[in-house]
């Protein structure tokens, strides 16, 4: 299993450091994306509630 991976790495000329950094950046991107989606949903709920309050107090 190790040989094909090593060969593939050599043929792409991608250093282990670069591979590791790229994986890290992709993973952090996914993580902050998830964070944003959760907050985004709660923002929608608060905006909808604010509208309801505004209408109920008219």
């Amino acid at each position: 299993m190790l040989i094909p991976i090593t060969l593939a790495s050599c043929s792409n000329n991608v250093s282990e450091e670069e591979q590791s950094l790229t994986v890290k950046m992709d993973s952090l991107k996914d993580s902050v994306d998830k964070t944003e989606k959760i907050v985004d949903k709660d923002i929608d709920k608060v905006q909808a509630s604010l509208k309801e309050v505004d209408e109920a107090f008219k």
């Binding site: 790229t22 952090l28 991107k29 902050v32 709660d42 509630s49 509208k51 505004d54 107090f57």
Partner: protein, 278 residues
């Protein structure tokens, strides 16, 4: 008289010696008691340990003792499902209670928001383009501008797109408007630079959303306070149905504000814990 003195001189040291001997004999007895107790405790502990290890190794007797109780454990777990974070989080019965409302408002207002992105990155930014904040678009739906962002501690800039409202904040911390001048990228492959660009774009889009959420949170807390005062002032002039309608929307808003505050808190912890420089 002399003989009595002599007698007392002989008997007194003897009594003293006898007393000391008794004391010395008593000590080991006492310690022995302690020692026995210790041994007993150790024995009990060993027995407990044996029991636990029997359980771990899947002893048939212990397994059988749980038979029929699976349902109880399952029900217990179900009861706490979704309530792990904060049992006082949602006000689900929607029945008005002044004390409860006030108590929750204190929790909302007292929450420390230092080091949230509004203070760290977007000081002075206003996200609301409309008078009514609920009509304002979130930053990701705003008009965008290109900037050249220079991450602290990195030798390489990155061209990213940010909301127009955030432009000033970025310029204030050393970024410039427009795309970056090209530079020697031979140190890494295109994949790396694409991943890096994707990461920074997402990071700043997320922090913009957090910042918008923080300003919305402050605004919503004000609305809760003001509308609650308005309800109290007009309560006697309203029909019971009107009062109930207003109470319910205030409770719903307070619930949703709680959720937003929690997700902002978690979100801020997440983004501030990232300390990698790419």
């Amino acid at each position: 008289m002399k003989s009595r003195k002599l007698l007392s001189l002989t008997i007194l040291p003897l009594m003293l010696l006898w007393f000391v001997t008794l004391q010395e004999k008593g000590k080991p007895e006492k310690n022995k008691g302690k020692q026995d107790k210790k041994t007993e405790n150790k024995y009990d502990r060993d027995k407990e340990q044996d029991k636990r290890e029997k359980g771990k190794s899947g002893d048939k007797y212990d397994k059988d003792s749980y038979k029929g109780k699976e349902k109880d454990y399952k029900n217990k777990n179900d009861r706490y499902k979704g309530k792990e974070f904060d049992l006082d989080k949602r006000w689900d019965d929607r029945k008005w209670n002044d004390d409860r409302f006030n108590g929750r408002m204190i929790k909302l207002k007292d929450k420390k928001k230092k080091n949230w992105v509004n203070e760290r990155i977007y000081l002075g930014v206003n996200w609301f383009n409309e008078d009514d904040v609920y009509k304002s678009k979130k930053p990701k739906n705003n008009k965008k501008v290109n900037i050249c962002h220079k991450p602290d501690g990195s030798n390489y800039p990155t061209s990213i797109t940010v909301s127009e409202n955030a432009l000033k904040a970025h310029l204030n911390h050393g970024d410039s408007q427009g795309n970056c001048n090209d530079f020697d990228r031979s140190i890494y492959t295109k994949n790396y630079w694409d991943a890096r660009n994707g990461y920074y774009n997402q990071y700043y889009q997320t922090t913009e959303t957090l910042s918008f959420g923080e300003q919305l949170l402050v605004n919503a807390i004000d609305v809760l306070t003001n509308r609650r005062s308005q309800l109290n002032a007009t309560r006697t002039t309203l029909t019971p149905v009107q009062v109930q309608k207003r109470e319910v929307v205030l409770i719903d808003l307070q619930n949703n504000v709680y959720d937003l505050q929690n997700s902002l808190d978690n979100g801020n912890q997440r983004v501030s814990s990232i300390n990698f420089i790419f």
